[in-house]
Symmetry: C2
Subunit: 657 residues, 2 copies
């Protein structure tokens, strides 16, 4: 709060929007000019099981005794299918690690991280850093909530600030009222229709205006969650009466505080949506931005409809489906999948009779979790249409290579499941069942385990199954190096190609030596074997190297196998950061055509590397008789990290000092 006080006098003079208030109150370094580097104090963290085991191993490697945040919560929601011991072993490891470090532990079945975090811990005015790209959903309550790589979250848990560049603030004014059969999902699909998957890059989206009044905190969650699909850093809503009503219903009225934009505040750019003009929208395969009105493709057959995920997590989203299905039957050729958000929401739906209606109509009920949204079960059949309320429909994400996944509202998914063809819900012959979030939801915390006190926590022993390996130590970068090129990648190579996910690979997420076997599988055959033979080496990349998922395994696994330097035409931001975090030096060509002069087997030599990096943004290297001109954007802190052997080693030195 000392930081907040520091900024208060300035706030009195300059009208601020909600985003600026949140950033100003957490700024520990830099200034708030868009594009400038800023350091932010982090109040809360969120980790889930797919990224959390690595975070816990990183914290173990750093030697952290206890988290320094106000609240850190570890959720188990992504990988709930247990086909062998690896997954339940990970769950046990996470439970003991959470207890050891003073972290809340949300057991498997307790719920999906984002809505559960909103219900139990969401607090206006706070910052949240999460190792999940949909962390911004908490913006629904007037929080600044950002997704990041695992080790960035680990650093925040250790009390370090989060460093990023100050985004622009994009003010989106909502006017009017949503017509019958149109709901929050259609609002964010309209944003995607207008601006595509990179429309929000370098921006924070802040919603305001009279249209907010009709949107509950959970409706706002839908919109903030899928802000990630616009490429935005995060989305922010004010903390107003709707947020107060939500927190009061959850028994947490004391955690509410008002947080509104000041009169006369400014936005870096602006947008307006009249809710009364929206119609049911749907994103066709295979991009969230491939949006058209449902009516344009009405009548196409479907084989699956899917309700749930963090993109439509509210009681309302299930209850509206239940009310539409009551006494009716799902089409014989459609599998209707119900994926409850959390134990508490499932109990409330059960109490209120909605679960009965869903079951009675023929829905398949799955356990509470992320499930099919991230390809963990419920894959559709080959080349048939699947309508889902989830946030993403990237090709193959469902688990089926030739999938055809559409994104839509629960109203559209349910109407289509009833008719057996894609259906604009406005054409159904029934009154719109307008559902409000309940004023008396069940609040069940029996499977949300609080942190132990410090004395008890110190006695906890981490339980690691045979598949869980502590993080390997990495040596610091040397200042004199001659390394061979082992991989030459083209343009737009994604982290999916550098380090695949999916059912075959993900079970090894806690085991770097094992998962390393799959590295660069999408780029070349036999990389791991070759790297083991060669030792330290270089990878050459084209433009936009490392785009896509933030998974840090795409940096750790190659580093484990000896990757020390990547020379590329350009880097995707998060992967570049992940490389530095694990001690791999990212450099770009000053002359892009130098890319063509290097081949697998070429040798590149560096002299006085540290001194050169510290002295200038441009350094030289020798490849045969040619001198390469190379560029870097490293801060002095990042150079320190590289020559410490990565962020973990740096953190250990730092803490020892």
């Amino acid at each position: 709060m000392s930081v907040w006080k520091h900024w208060e006098p300035i706030m009195r003079h300059t009208p601020r929007n909600v985003t600026q208030k949140l950033i100003a109150s957490h700024l520990v370094s830099g200034d708030m000019t868009p594009g400038e580097a800023v350091g932010l104090k982090i109040d809360q963290t969120l980790t889930q099981d797919a990224t959390g085991t690595m975070v816990m191993l990183e914290l173990e490697a750093m030697g952290l005794e206890r988290v320094k945040t106000e609240i850190s919560a570890q959720y188990v929601d992504h990988n709930l299918i247990q086909e062998d011991n690896k997954n339940p072993d990970d769950h046990r490891f996470l439970q003991t690690a959470a207890q050891r470090l003073g972290v809340w532990f949300s057991r498997p079945g307790n719920g999906v991280s984002h809505p559960t975090h909103q219900q139990r811990f969401g607090k206006p005015g706070k910052t949240l850093l999460g190792s999940d790209s949909h962390t911004p959903a908490a913006g629904s309550l007037g929080m600044l909530a950002i997704g990041a790589g695992g080790i960035d979250v680990a650093m925040a848990m250790a009390g370090e600030p989060f460093y990023t560049r100050m985004p622009e603030v994009w003010g989106v004014r909502l006017d009017g009222r949503l017509p019958d059969w149109i709901s929050a999902k259609d609002v964010i699909l309209e944003m995607l229709r207008r601006h595509g998957v990179s429309g929000g890059v370098g921006r924070i989206i802040e919603y305001y205006g009279p249209g907010l009044e009709q949107l509950s905190a959970m409706d706002r969650h839908v919109i903030a969650n899928m802000g990630a699909e616009l490429g935005a850093t995060t989305s922010v809503f004010p903390s107003d009466a709707a947020v107060k009503a939500f927190l009061c219903a959850e028994g947490r009225g004391d955690d509410w505080q008002e947080l509104l934009p000041d009169d006369g505040c400014r936005y870096d750019c602006r947008e307006e949506i009249d809710l009364s003009h929206l119609e049911p929208l749907i994103a066709k395969p295979s991009s969230p931005a491939n949006v058209v009105p449902v009516r344009e493709i009405a009548g196409e057959p479907l084989s699956q409809a899917y309700i749930g995920s963090s993109a439509n997590p509210g009681y309302r989203d299930f209850a509206v489906a239940a009310a539409m299905l009551e006494g009716r039957t799902v089409d014989d050729d459609v599998s209707l999948e119900i994926n409850p958000t959390s134990r508490s929401i499932l109990e409330t739906l059960t109490r209120d009779g909605h679960l009965f209606s869903l079951l009675d109509a023929g829905a398949r009920l799955h356990q509470a979790g992320c499930n099919g949204c991230i390809g963990m079960g419920q894959a559709p059949a080959n080349e048939v249409n699947s309508l889902r309320t989830v946030p993403r429909n990237f090709p193959g994400r469902s688990g089926t290579r030739e999938d055809r996944v559409f994104l839509c509202s629960p109203e559209t998914a349910t109407a289509s499941a009833l008719n057996g063809v894609i259906t604009d819900p406005r054409t159904l012959d029934m009154p719109y069942p307008r559902i409000e979030e309940p004023s008396d939801p069940i609040v069940n915390t029996r499977t949300l385990i609080p942190p132990l006190d410090e004395e008890k926590a110190r006695k906890i022993h981490l339980i690691k199954g045979p598949n869980i390996e502590s993080l390997p130590d990495f040596e610091p970068l040397e200042t004199r190096l001659t390394l061979p090129v082992l991989v030459k990648a083209g343009d737009d190579v994604s982290t999916d190609e550098i380090m695949p996910a999916g059912g075959e690979v993900l079970p090894y997420r806690s085991n770097i030596p094992k998962i390393a076997e799959f590295a660069f599988r999408g780029v070349m055959e036999g990389y791991a074997a070759q790297a083991r033979k060669t030792g330290d080496h270089i990878v050459i990349g084209g433009n936009n190297y490392g785009q896509g998922s933030s998974r840090e395994h795409a940096a750790i696994a190659p580093r484990y196998l000896g990757l020390r330097i990547v020379l590329a035409r350009s880097f995707a931001r998060i992967h570049e950061q992940n490389l530095i975090n694990f001690g791999v030096l990212p450099l770009t060509f000053v002359d892009a055509s130098d890319y063509d002069t290097l081949e697998i087997g070429s040798e590149v030599a560096f002299e006085n590397l540290r001194q050169a990096l510290e002295a200038s943004n441009e350094i030289g290297a020798r490849a045969g008789d040619k001198t390469l001109r190379l560029e870097h954007r490293l801060t002095p802190r990042q150079i320190e990290i590289l020559f410490s052997g990565g962020l973990i080693a740096w953190m250990r030195e730092h803490r020892a000092a």
Copy 2:
């Protein structure tokens, strides 16, 4: 019914037990002396998805137009996890195949085959053949219900009798009343404690006596289901007032008929159990016969408790757990898995508030199906104890190689989940919540699709995903053959070693060319590649060749790769039948030591093979300069089958004639 009339006069004179009445009324060949071959008319069939795709492909290969049974039902319950398109593609194939052939189709989520079949189709006095080893569960209603290989069920669907050897009838008299906290599961565990996993081989177990009065039809299902674990051909209960009450509650009172043992009837062997003397029992890892009283191991920690499966499928089994958990919390270190039996039972539990109690206490709710019982999800962590109400705890069946699975009643599993240690439920400080099966259960048939009429059925086109291959045609056995030995196996080689199951292999269950790649993986490396190079060949086996699972892929896949003859010291019964069904000749050594004279690469020559088989049970063959003396037990019909190229080809000829 004509068959029944034929036997009626005899029945008037000779008092019969229920089993004898069922067999007599369906006998089409042979006589009822134990050990003699008998042919039985089959009224109903049951197939599930793990075995059903092969059955449907076999029926397609036979050219069957429409099933000839009174009722055939195809369930989808085993493999509900959809990690990619293969599984949902199989579900769609089964749905179209069922519609094409006049078969009831139970959609994914509708329920586990055995209890669902009992509720919707079970009928006293009828025979049921199912391609699942727990088919005997339907004995609970006074049916004769037998498990068999897929093609035997396919033959029954085509109207052919089922051929087997007449078993002994084992009369088990039940006296007394079950004390509080003791339930049906403890009765069958007591049988396993006394007699082990082969105590029932060659027998049908028939229960009678005053102790039956207390056991509902679903309690009897528990006992009949796990008769399979005793190795029994099936288990049989009378059709009495409890069966009438069950059918009336399901809205099927008209399907009831009384079926009781005659006064003075005889059993081939006898057993008595006084229910009032039973205590809570538990089968320790890793055999269903490893039974001890729960009190002997009370206090051991556990990590998982599991309620559900066809071995404890009743409303009561879940409601008793719910009543025990109401207002309490599952231990923080135990994952309590709830696997509902069927849509109807889940709805009834929801209506009656029991589902709410389970959720509220912290249970994880899964979709209705077999799930973790057959290793499809819910695998326990490594080397921790898992208490389950399922029928089997063979090593690794849960999916975890080093698993520690215990079998027990819902009462024992729930008590242990509450305490976090293995607990005799009698030691809990609460009154026993005695639950009756409901008199007004929900009956929901919205996801049970009835057969189409013949005209509509003929228009149905089978939808086969890219992983579904029609069955290959196999050539008839030739009468003059010289074949090399390609595999030499030791004693007790199981079908798991000939054709492994599990998550890597099972998805290819509908694709013989693909699954053949895994053949003999447990015996030797590189069989498939070697067989493709060699062509037709011989396999040498030791004693008890082909024991274990009935899966017919263990015969089809090697036959596909050129296996024509197996020479073994002795065969396991079902695998021997499966070999013949797919055109592979099984022969045993007259002189067991001849096994030692043959090696991989030895050539064996047969002359006038058909003539020799027809002429005598002993035939000769040449291996180098040695003459081998070989034996067979083939019936003339089986010889015909072999020289037709297997049962499918034989059936096609037969139907054409």
